[in-house]
């Protein structure tokens, strides 16, 4: 009974896809929606292939990916280090954990105009906003992972004479690892989203910059092709990061 219902679910999903594409095509037929607002699908898909040849997207993709990798590295190193230091004492956890959680609820994107002043229109301000936004889930999950390891494990390891390093390496780290990994995954994804957001607000290069400048020139058809590309990149990043998390989780066990 299980198989046919899964097949039916996929059929429904296919149906939705066809319906969306059909509605898109139908709406842009002559007499439909203005093509400046919604371009017809076929030129959009044609424009998508042009992205890899004449209208090369690689330099902009490289800019965005470089910003993303730098931001993720900065946020992971600082978040994990600070999280580790705080988690060493239960008192520090009680002092800093609510403080960081409170800061996390403030929309950090408001700092972006300030970062533009500090770091300029180039990659610097995007790296800064990506790092700021990715830092919080990483540090909070590192604290949550390390500080709430079951006390029984620690007592057991201590009573068997484990040194500080052994305790950390063989008990704390494996126990905390899945939670820390979740933080890193969330950090990777929000960093990418906020970098795209930053590029949309103001920038000199990058995927977001391309989309915005095409929008400002009213080249909606090419803009849609670029949006399609950015969405695919986001999905690829999502899949890679989720896969890496699952992999890391299994590798640790």
């Amino acid at each position: 009974m299980k198989k046919p219902s899964r097949l039916a679910a996929h059929l429904v999903q296919l149906g939705i896809l066809v319906a969306v594409l059909g509605a898109w095509y139908w709406a842009t037929l002559p007499g439909g929606i203005n093509h400046l607002l919604l371009p017809p699908p076929i030129p959009v898909f044609e424009g998508f292939w042009v992205l890899f040849t004449a209208d090369s997207i690689w330099p902009d993709l490289l800019v965005t990916v470089r910003e993303w990798v730098t931001a993720v590295l900065l946020a992971s190193v600082s978040g994990c280090t600070l999280g580790y230091l705080i988690s060493r004492s239960g008192y520090a956890v009680r002092v800093f954990d609510p403080l960081l959680a409170g800061l996390y609820s403030i929309p950090a994107i408001l700092l972006f105009p300030l970062y533009l002043l500090f770091f300029g229109l180039g990659p610097g301000s995007k790296i800064a906003i990506g790092t700021t936004i990715a830092f919080f889930p990483i540090v909070l999950n590192t604290i949550a992972g390390l500080a709430y390891v079951d006390k029984a494990y620690i007592t057991a390891a201590r009573s068997m004479g484990a040194s500080d390093f052994q305790l950390f390496w063989s008990v704390m780290l494996p126990a905390a690892f899945p939670v820390v990994l979740t933080g890193l995954r969330i950090g990777c994804i929000v960093a990418f989203l906020s970098i795209l957001g930053g590029e949309t607000i103001s920038s000199l290069a990058g995927l977001g910059h391309r989309i915005v400048s095409l929008a400002e020139n009213m080249e909606t058809s090419r803009m849609f092709s670029n949006i399609l590309f950015a969405v695919l990149i986001a999905i690829v990043i999502n899949v890679i990061v989720t896969f890496a998390e699952a992999r890391g989780r299994r590798g640790m066990q």
Binding site: Y91, T200, L207, A215
Partner: protein
């Protein structure tokens, strides 16, 4: 580790000390080293607060943002919960539709922001629509998650006692869903705020995002920091309200 000596002060007190220490470092650092065009000491931002609150244009901007956030939030919660319940209550729709929703959720909305502006203009409508596009997904996902946690034995018991659909909904599904409603509302609120501000920063003629950008571009850091502080206070308050609701209504659930 197990020393009987208690810490010198309570964690809440120590947190306050940390915050004050950071502010003092910022104050001293900014006074000694910073370029006043880019960074100001926090005391100047405090001085700028009354100036900001006496400017009717800025008061108006704050109200515009609150209005946009409020409308987008109400729409996100009502649409999100309805969709979440419709999708979540049926095993088949969940299997078929939920992956589509998750796929849409993973789309970076910043890339479609120009489209929102093209279709809704540069007024509040585009911000509300963009906020809605951010806020609706966490509400849907937590609502579906809440339905999933429904214990089937309760449903079977109710049905075997002859409850009809409406009775099952009001006395079993709905009370069971309250904690996840609040979780969804809190996540939705955070993202609605993010979406509205992002849209305001991108292009706008009013709202907090517009003035943040204006103050940054006119090199007026005291006003900028004061405005950021006001917004931070609003964000923390909204978040705390949702968190309180979450705690208050999930108490019976855990007990």
């Amino acid at each position: 580790m197990n020393g009987r000596r208690g810490p010198i002060m309570s964690p809440g007190m120590a947190r306050l000390v940390v915050i004050i220490a950071l502010l003092v470092i910022w104050e001293v650092g900014a006074r000694l080293y910073a370029d006043p065009l880019f960074l100001c000491p926090p005391s100047q931002a405090v001085v700028a607060l009354p100036r900001i609150f006496s400017d009717p244009k800025i008061i108006h901007a704050i109200w515009v943002t609150i209005y946009e956030v409020f409308v987008a939030f109400v729409l996100s919660v009502s649409f999100g919960m309805t969709i979440g319940l419709i999708v979540g209550l049926q095993g088949f729709t969940k299997k078929a539709i939920l992956p589509v929703i998750l796929l849409l959720y993973s789309i970076p909305q910043a890339t479609v922001l120009p489209l929102f502006i093209l279709s809704f203009g540069i007024g509040p409508a585009a911000k509300i629509a963009f906020g809605l596009s951010h806020g609706i997904f966490p509400v849907i996902v937590t609502t579906v998650g809440g339905v999933q946690n429904l214990r089937p034995s309760l449903l079977t018991a109710a049905r075997s006692m002859g409850a009809n659909r409406w009775q099952i909904f009001t006395s079993i599904v709905f009370p069971h869903m309250i904690p996840s409603f609040f979780t969804g509302m809190r996540l939705g609120m955070t993202l609605v705020l993010l979406g509205v501000l992002l849209a305001e920063l991108y292009v706008s003629t009013a709202g907090i995002g517009f003035y943040t950008r204006l103050f940054a571009e006119s090199f007026a850091p005291p006003d900028l920091f004061a405005l950021i502080a006001v917004l931070a206070a609003i964000a923390v308050t909204l978040n705390e309200i949702c968190r309180m609701g979450e705690r208050r209504f999930s108490r019976w659930h855990n007990g």
